[in-house]
């Protein structure tokens, strides 16, 4: 696979590991922001290849984990009480709400469908003119263009029975929340390559300056991650705090202006609740008022009592990097009943595909139709 195998080369991996070992002198704690990066670190067994001085902490960049309980309840309510066709990426289905998950609602007869792209949901709406179709639009900046595009698309086609239940969250406010927490001791960040593919680098310069932290925009393959870690360690050892771009083969400093235009047309900044963390001001996007016909929140008069989060829930601690996933898993097993959110650590998402955003093909020979974002039911996270 061209553009992939080069970044999985054992020789290059060795070379970067050697350079990290040669560079590091003191212990450093670095957070990889994105769940896709966490997934790759674990899947490739990188965590236990790093020298003991480097501690990687898994960050809040997993939309599944940070989607608040009441939003899942809302999706279940739409599917069960309003009888809508509720379309979603696969891994949202198993996330427990306060009463049940979407998967349980589906088993009980609700029309819940797994899709790979919100544009497919618009087609579902066209094929079912007598029914309301709602797409559960979760994700970071990465999935926003495709989700926004579905609204634009539905609007252009005059599809009136389509709306999205938007739950978009943004990376920079999350980094601020992590840095403002007195318990979190993060010294550097690997920022999410895909997010920056859309948004560019400009939001990160003020953060690096304000908190005096290196931020390295990093990709998802083993060589990407190790190079990103090396760049962060170098800055830390030299007492620097800059924004660096490891993922320059995909990320341009200005991002993808076209994608951002679509986002700006459809979404507007809003306060957003993060599961286990609480509300962070201006940390999410909601649908613009003039497009409220496509906003499931406004289209359906959702009157749901907000269920309290389980007191055992340690999602916040994990997301802020105070506890790591493996510990979270253990404590989830120990605590009866298991914290629903901690169960989330069992499932990670595969990195969103850069392909659709950049128009490049990642896996060269194989694929024509590109789903916008790809999630998967992955394996339990644990280190060998």
């Amino acid at each position: 696979m061209k553009f992939l195998s080069e970044y999985r080369s054992p020789e290059l991996v060795d070379q970067y590991l050697r350079q990290i070992r040669e560079t590091v002198r003191r212990p450093w704690t670095i957070m990889e922001v994105c769940g896709g990066q966490t997934h790759s670190l674990v899947k490739n067994g990188i965590l236990n290849m790093l020298p003991p001085e480097v501690t990687m902490v898994h960050g809040p960049g997993c939309p599944v984990c940070v989607t608040p309980l009441h939003l899942i309840d809302k999706a279940v309510w739409l599917a069960e009480e309003q009888r809508v066709i509720l379309c979603s990426y696969g891994d949202m289905l198993r996330v427990p709400g306060s009463r049940k998950s979407l998967l349980e609602a589906k088993a009980a007869g609700a029309d819940v469908r797994i899709l790979y792209s919100p544009l497919e949901a618009v087609t579902v709406a066209q094929e079912n003119p007598g029914r309301e179709v709602v797409f559960f639009a979760v994700g970071f900046e990465t999935t926003a263009p495709a989700n926004a595009m579905s609204v634009v698309h539905a609007h252009q086609l005059g599809v009136q029975n389509y709306s999205i239940l938007a739950s978009h969250v943004l990376v920079p406010p999350a980094i601020e929340a992590v840095m403002n927490d007195p318990e979190a001791r993060i010294q550097g960040f690997l920022a999410a390559g895909h997010v920056c593919t859309i948004m560019g680098l400009h939001e990160y310069h003020p953060l690096a300056e304000k908190y005096k932290i290196p931020i390295v925009v990093t990709g998802f393959e083993p060589v990407d991650l190790l190079q990103g870690i090396l760049m962060a360690v170098r800055q830390l050892e030299n007492g620097e705090h800059r924004v660096e771009n490891q993922y320059s083969r995909v990320v341009r400093p200005e991002g993808n202006p076209e994608a951002r235009r679509v986002i700006e047309r459809v979404f507007t900044l809003s306060d957003r609740e993060w599961r286990g963390i609480g509300t962070i001001p201006n940390s999410g996007w909601e649908v613009q008022h003039d497009l409220s016909a496509y906003d499931a929140n406004r289209k359906f008069n959702v009157q749901l009592e907000k269920a309290p989060e389980s007191p055992d829930c340690i999602a916040g601690l994990v997301l802020k990097g105070i506890k790591n996933h493996t510990n979270a898993l253990n404590s989830a097993r120990a605590a009866p009943p298991p914290c629903p959110s901690a169960r989330l650590w069992c499932r990670r998402k595969a990195p969103a595909q850069h392909t659709i955003i950049t128009g490049r093909r990642v896996s060269g020979s194989t694929v024509y139709r590109l789903p916008s974002t790809v999630y998967r039911y992955a394996n339990t996270l644990s280190d060998a």
Partner: protein
């Protein structure tokens, strides 16, 4: 296809009356013809001697037709392979249909012909069966159950108890192909090359291996639903031993690996149909690999790892970059209705 006065299946075809008979006479009995089936009795009467393996499986794959085969191929090959994994050569199969009202006769016919051809390739006779029809909306076109019986190979001694530390783990061919084919049909992903399901009867290959290596084959498994990872975890769990595999040895077609990247699947968890895993005595493993590569469906076989005493009940993968990680059992359903 014979000329019939109906072009879709209706409820009468499951009534046991005239329409059932018409369907059977023109269909199953004629196509699958053999002396035992020709008796048209409620059950087949047959003679058997010695140690037998007996296995049943139901097939609900969606879509019913997919590149490289259809539900009929799966229904024959699946049960034939389950018997082969016991070290047995399938001899007889039962065949039971649950048809949905409205199933086009043309599709039913195509499936029946596939069943006939698959049975011929496997050298197995279909000797008894059943046909039921459910109302439209109560099934999904066609469900099939097959049950098979066959004699255990005289040199076979296959059981979990025989798995020992040091044993080598062989995989007979490219993994994850069937699951990705089904997934790509469902998701509308296209490939530059023609990717087809690996559904195949493994009995001839397995029996030939048993001819040569007999008791050096300690265990056989076909990694269908749940994929290779699930089978390896079952071995680790039930044998109370560890399993180590090397990522760079796993045979995966490039386009399948690419689709896995794109769809977010790990090939280790994706279903296979025409692949088996053999746990072999270390001294015989290399010769077995060589032999397997010369046999039908074995050209891409690899020794992918071994059984170890350390980390009992755990499967560890050595990643291609030199890292290590635990490979867990599949949680939940990765792809429903894969076979």
């Amino acid at each position: 296809m014979p000329k019939l006065d109906f072009d879709v299946i209706n409820l009468g075809h499951g009534s046991g009356g005239l329409l059932t008979n018409k369907l059977l006479e023109a269909g199953v009995f004629d196509v699958l013809k053999n002396p035992l089936l020709d008796t048209h009795h409620d059950g087949a009467v047959l003679e058997m001697n010695g140690q037998m393996a007996f296995s049943t499986d139901s097939y609900v794959v969606s879509p019913v037709f997919f590149p490289g085969g259809n539900i009929g191929d799966l229904a024959v090959n699946g049960t034939v392979n389950d018997l082969a994994m016991c070290g047995a050569g399938a001899q007889y199969l039962s065949l039971a249909f649950i048809l949905e009202e409205g199933l086009p006769m043309a599709e039913y016919w195509d499936i029946l012909i596939s069943i006939k051809n698959a049975a011929q390739r496997a050298g197995v006779q279909i000797i008894t069966g059943d046909t039921k029809v459910v109302e439209r909306g109560k099934g999904d076109k066609i469900f099939i159950n097959t049950t098979g019986i066959g004699a255990i190979h005289p040199r076979a001694d296959i059981s979990m108890q025989r798995v020992r530390p040091g044993d080598r783990i062989l995989i007979s061919g490219h993994i994850a192909t069937h699951g990705i084919v089904i997934m790509s049909v469902r998701q509308g992903v296209e490939f530059e090359t023609t990717l087809t399901s690996d559904t195949a009867n493994l009995n001839h290959t397995v029996l030939q291996l048993l001819d040569t290596f007999g008791p050096d084959i300690h265990l056989l498994r076909d990694p269908t639903r749940g994929g290779v990872a699930t089978v390896l975890n079952e071995i680790a769990r039930d044998a109370h031993l560890g399993v180590e595999i090397r990522q760079d040895r796993l045979p995966v077609l490039e386009e399948v690996a690419g689709a896995c990247e794109l769809l977010g699947f790990d090939p280790l968890y994706v279903a296979n149909e025409g692949v088996f895993i053999a746990v072999a005595a270390p001294a015989a493993a290399e010769a077995m690999l060589e032999k397997l590569r010369s046999l039908e469906y074995g050209a891409h076989a690899q020794i992918v790892g071994e059984v170890v005493e350390t980390h009992p009940r755990q499967v560890i993968l050595h990643s291609q970059i030199g890292g290590r990680r635990v490979v867990n059992m599949l949680t939940g359903e990765q792809l429903p209705r894969i076979c």
